[in-house]
């Protein structure tokens, strides 16, 4: 049984194991961003075979991100802790690149609350200060503290801030 990138909406029956697998995925945070990997849009699909096997495919934001191995390990540990699960596969796939649309509204709100500005759809759109909402900002560096962040200065409220940096559109 294969489910899409999102858990089934309320009222739609899901196999208990599949539900348990999604509960695990919702509990795993990106170690470099304070949001769940499901809100970041990393989960491509979940496959459940019988009562003991779960396969998860993930879409990386940045392919060289050192958090990828950590995330994979946390998912694997969480899935293996589900009673009855004995066989777990967690793989990154590249056939459908990660884009900003994969991030949920809740994920955006959580990043904004953390002081991280998030572009709405394109990497090149004008940045907005997450503190005062001003567009009067200057780039400090395209390369910030992690591969997925760049740094800016707000000329209006004088705060430095970070912006989520998606891979450029092709």
């Amino acid at each position: 049984m294969v489910s899409a990138a999102r858990p089934a909406p309320d009222g739609v029956t899901q196999a208990p194991l599949e539900q348990a697998a999604w509960d695990v995925l919702r509990s795993v945070e990106d170690p470099e961003l304070p949001i769940a990997i499901t809100d970041l849009g990393l989960v491509r699909d979940v496959r459940v075979d019988g009562e003991s096997r779960v396969s998860v495919r993930l879409v990386p934001t940045w392919t060289a991100c050192p958090a990828l191995a950590v995330i994979r390990g946390r998912i694997r540990d969480g899935l293996l802790a589900i009673p009855g699960v004995r066989d777990v596969s967690v793989e990154y796939t590249y056939d459908e690149p990660w884009t900003l649309e994969r991030m949920t509204d809740r994920g955006r709100e959580q990043l904004a609350a953390h002081g991280l500005s998030v572009p709405s759809c394109r990497f090149a759109e004008p940045p907005v200060c997450p503190y005062c909402g001003s567009h009067d900002v200057a780039i400090d560096s395209l390369f910030g503290p992690t591969l997925c962040r760049s740094t800016y200065i707000c000329r209006h409220c004088r705060n430095p801030f970070e912006r989520f940096k998606p891979p450029a559109e092709s």
Binding site: T63, A64, C65, P66, D95, S141, L142, F143, A168
Partner: protein, 260 residues
């Protein structure tokens, strides 16, 4: 891990594709290692972080391609990265050269990123999955490297004649080796005939020159007239690679069986 090579039936084509992937991976590993030597000593904190991030990304990209070459073979990508002698490396010689100075590193970055972007475009059309999908994904990441290189190139070359002369000297030194990106071996005609590679080396070079020329000339720099310095694609390297290789593999070589 999917073995990209296993799906190619013809052994000669398989070997040629493996060689192409090794060129890509070895290029990324060597320039990634050289970029990482700026960590802690970059000209300012932002550039230090930027060059370190670019290094981190190139090493990650190298790993993805080594994984494709290694398949399920014991030792995996690490054995390919650290377990081969320098003579088996297929990287272009430009990428193994020491950093000399910031202007050389930026010139090299600009020349390489343009080439790398175009090569990833060709790989994305090679028809072999998952390599094609990986190449398309990486192309989106490399864009930022090119932006960084172009910004610094303009910043260094434009203000004064003295500054421009230093950047020009770096370009003169790098150019013959950059032409080595396009060195061919027996693998290239095989890849073209098999329909995996869609452009001859001459056309690749023309496309690359057409892309770097406006950037360089826009900064007041002159394209050097020089013959290509070849060798890397055939495993003929400078002593710089041996030195870098010894340093890069020292920890791994102390215990190749260790699990980190």
């Amino acid at each position: 891990m999917p073995a990209a090579l296993a799906t190619i039936a013809d052994p000669a084509v398989r070997a040629a594709f493996r060689e192409w992937l090794l060129r890509v991976a070895d290029d990324e590993l060597t320039i990634g290692h050289r970029h990482s030597e700026w960590t802690g000593v970059g000209p300012d904190i932002e550039s230090d972080v930027a060059m370190s991030s670019i290094a981190q990304e190139e090493l990650g990209h190298a790993r993805l391609f080594y994984e494709q070459v290694a398949g399920d073979q014991p030792g995996g990508p690490d054995l390919l990265a650290f377990g081969r002698p320098p003579a088996e490396f297929r990287n272009a010689v430009l990428l193994e050269q020491p950093n000399h100075g910031w202007e050389f590193s930026i010139v090299r970055l600009a020349l390489y990123e343009t080439f790398e972007g175009q090569r990833l475009g060709l790989l994305a059309r090679c028809g072999q999955e998952p390599v094609a999908a990986i190449a398309a994904t990486l192309g989106r990441e490399e864009r930022y490297h090119g932006l960084f290189a172009a910004t610094w190139l303009e910043r260094m070359a434009r203000p004064s004649a003295d500054a421009r002369a230093r950047v020009q000297a770096a370009l003169d030194a790098a150019w013959p080796y950059a032409l080595g990106f396009f060195e061919t071996t027996e693998a290239d005609p095989i890849l073209i005939n098999a329909g995996l590679l869609h452009e001859s080396a001459e056309r690749q070079r023309d496309a690359w020159e057409a892309a770097v020329r406006p950037l360089l000339e826009g900064c007041g720099l002159a394209i050097p007239a020089a013959a290509p310095a070849l060798g890397g694609r055939r495993g003929v390297h400078t002593p710089d690679l041996a030195q870098m290789h010894a340093e890069m593999t020292e920890v791994w070589g102390s215990d190749p069986e260790a699990r980190w």
